[in-house]
């Protein structure tokens, strides 16, 4: 009951930040800018063969902006997230955070750079990502000790502060993960990421493990925190309805490439890329569905001149097998398809 009272007082009016279009965020102001990012993994047992997990991805996230990242499992969104959180080293490309080039800093050394605290991550399932032998207080305190170099007393004071911010009752702080409900664990995961005052939060399916009623509370909390703290979000999810609610812009990935980017509301209302169209039509509770036939083509050394969606695409033509479509700007949208209007 305590939980519900706390959250009731947190239910926000939807922030005015909504509708800030991507055209209003020029490249110069981007908090995070990714240019031609590639990540290729060697394939075991096949000499020279490379799996192209992330293939020439460019993306920017403005200060205070929330960007969604959607796509099927295996499309490379987790690899992209791990590159941006600097847990993985890119093969090629640039990752520029507030004017600092991050792509050159090795992942193993990144923990000791100041940008580590500025880019934080909220992981998918709080039951798996919280150390079972840490109390909630210890879990939230750890990054403060390691990244902010705080004394025990300073860190504890900050833990109390951030716990209140995320609506986690202080009485729950001595508890271990298994003594907390799903919603409470999600709050601990968010508090832990927020403790070191990041400017960019990468949220990897933060509500996938939660029941709908708890999910609603956590989504509202995330919207409110972003508004109050002026945070930027990169929000990864395969629940498109959730992405639509929480983001200004959305990027759709297919087999390592971004195939469509644009204002979330517009992309979901009128998707332009055939893959986005199929994805949106598969959301339950909609009208007729576009059924995709055929298998996803292989991400191992894909031919550079063929559209990745060719073979599954309802509109595919010969041209799609000869010439891979580049990501082109169409108004506020960018779409990688020869047939996008």
């Amino acid at each position: 009951m305590l939980e519900s009272r706390v959250t009731d007082s947190l239910v926000p009016a939807w922030p005015a930040a909504r509708g800030k279009s991507d055209t209003a965020a020029p490249m110069g102001e981007a908090l995070l800018r990714v240019e031609s990012l590639h990540k290729r993994f060697p394939v075991t047992g096949r000499r020279g063969a490379m799996l192209h997990a992330v293939d020439d991805v460019s993306l920017h996230i403005g200060a205070g902006e929330s960007v969604g990242l959607v796509g099927e499992s295996g499309c490379g969104k987790s690899t992209l997230v791990r590159l941006l959180a600097r847990l993985l080293d890119p093969t090629e490309g640039r990752i520029v955070y507030a004017g600092h080039e991050l792509a050159d800093i090795r992942a193993v050394r990144f923990a000791r750079t100041p940008q580590r605290a500025a880019i934080q991550m909220v992981f998918q399932d709080p039951s798996d990502s919280l150390n079972p032998r840490f109390s909630a207080r210890e879990a939230i305190r750890e990054p403060l000790r390691l990244l902010a170099g705080m004394s025990m007393a300073e860190a504890d004071a900050r833990v109390d502060e951030v716990a209140l911010q995320v609506g986690l009752p202080l009485a729950l702080l001595p508890r271990f993960a298994h003594q907390l409900s799903g919603g409470q664990k999600a709050r601990v995961g968010i508090a832990r990421a927020l403790a070191v005052k990041p400017r960019l939060l990468i949220l990897d399916e933060p509500t996938a493990a939660l029941d709908v009623s708890v999910q609603a509370v956590v989504l509202q909390l995330l919207a409110q925190l972003r508004r109050e703290l002026g945070l930027s979000y990169l929000f990864v999810s395969h629940d498109l309805n959730v992405v639509r609610l929480l983001t200004d812009r959305v990027a759709v990935m297919y087999l390592g490439k971004i195939v469509e980017v644009g204002p979330s509301e517009a992309v979901f209302r009128a998707p332009r890329h055939p893959y986005t169209q199929a994805l949106v039509s598969a959301i339950p509770g909609q009208g007729p569905r576009i059924k995709l036939v055929g298998e996803v083509s292989s991400p191992i050394d894909p031919p550079a001149h063929v559209c990745r969606f060719h073979g599954r695409c309802p509109q595919g033509e010969d041209r799609c097998a000869r010439e891979a479509p580049p990501l082109l700007r169409l108004g506020a949208r960018e779409v990688a398809c020869h047939f996008a209007q």
């Binding site: 939980e3 519900s4 959250t7 009731d8 939807w14 639509r244 598969a282």
Partner: protein, 338 residues
């Protein structure tokens, strides 16, 4: 409807005896399924939907005790049946598709072997050609679930296949003996929306084609709405509302159902329009559970709700277990759900 239901659960109660006390997991559940009907069993985690389906198959945890009721399936009470009779029934007459196919499939046996195991146990035709006919039927089972190149896939291990493909194999296993009742427990959890749609199309398509009754367990109301004829909503071990899908969405009668709908992000929701269900599930170990288990989370609670359990009348087309429901029952014909 003079035809008897395929499955008729009456006043079913079940509890778990644990070191921490007795968990009153299910109480007074009434549920019926007709031949060929697709019924959604919807509720949040802890509502008892999986416990109910496990109990029907006789695969409950050892700590489980049936406290009341019956579950008639084709003249046989599943709750009173011997393990031997149940073993004959499982996989042949009643099948189950489990959540997370990767853990439900045997990781060290080939797909073909697993399929043949089921076929051999239940439907082996005696004769010298046993192995050949088993293989043919296994191939056919994979073909039925639209797996390309089924002959080659027989030799695959589960880890060699994608999540969607594993789920197709689970479906093939469950349907290999053409059961009359299928229980699908969150069959699409963890799958992408596009794969989810393909798997649901497959299950419901085969169900319609074979006139198979399907109990579809999910926490996703919108998904249930897309595929089910009727939906039963569960909360904390009670069935709280049962209605044809269109009627339920046109006018939910139980306050919990209504809240569940308004807390789910949909096409038209905004972040402010989401209304979480207040409070948490009550602790089912408590000795002083209110008679209506939603009473402590409900805005419409009256003293009667705590003292006297509202019953879901199975005979009603749109039944609700509530003393103060939101709407009177609306005729199905008028219901217009987009």
């Amino acid at each position: 409807m003079s035809q008897p239901a395929l499955l008729e659960v009456r006043n079913f109660g079940l509890e778990f005896r644990t070191r921490g006390g007795v968990v009153h997991a299910l109480e007074g559940i009434d549920l019926s399924l007709n031949k060929g009907e697709i019924v959604g069993l919807v509720g949040e985690s802890g509502s008892g939907k999986s416990v109910l389906s496990y109990a029907l198959l006789g695969i409950s945890d050892r700590a489980a005790r049936v406290t009341s009721g019956s579950a008639m399936f084709g003249g046989m009470d599943l709750l009173a049946a011997s393990e031997r009779d149940l073993a004959d029934l499982r996989g042949r007459e009643i099948s189950m598709i489990f959540q997370s196919p990767r853990t439900a499939l045997n990781p060290i046996r080939r797909v073909g072997q697993q399929l043949e195991d089921v076929l051999r146990r239940h439907a082996a035709a005696p004769g010298a050609d046993l192995n050949k006919s088993l293989k043919e039927r296994a191939v056919q089972a994979l073909r039925d679930v639209a797996i390309a190149d089924p002959e080659r896939r027989l030799a695959a291990y589960p880890f060699e296949m994608s999540g969607g493909m594993c789920q197709r194999v689970m479906i093939a296993l469950a349907l290999a003996c053409r059961p009359s009742l299928l229980i699908a427990d969150e069959p699409t959890t963890g799958l992408d929306v596009t794969t989810q749609a393909a798997v649901m199309d497959l299950i419901t398509g085969l169900a319609r084609e074979r006139h198979m009754a399907t109990l579809f367990i999910t926490h996703d109301l919108a998904l249930a709405a897309d595929y089910c004829d009727r939906i039963v909503v569960m909360h904390a071990g009670h069935a709280v509302e049962s209605a044809p899908t269109k009627a339920l969405f046109a006018a939910p009668r139980h306050p919990y159902t209504a809240r569940l709908m308004s807390s789910s992000p949909g096409e038209r929701s905004t972040i402010a329009s989401l209304e979480p269900v207040p409070g948490n599930l009550p602790d089912l170990k408590r000795g002083d559970l209110p008679a209506c288990r939603f009473a402590e989370r409900c805005e419409r609670t009256q003293p009667r709700c705590r003292g006297e359990r509202p019953r879901l009348e199975a005979a009603d087309a749109h039944g609700v277990a509530c003393w103060h429901p939101l709407h009177e029952a609306v005729a199905v014909a008028e219901a217009a759900h987009a």
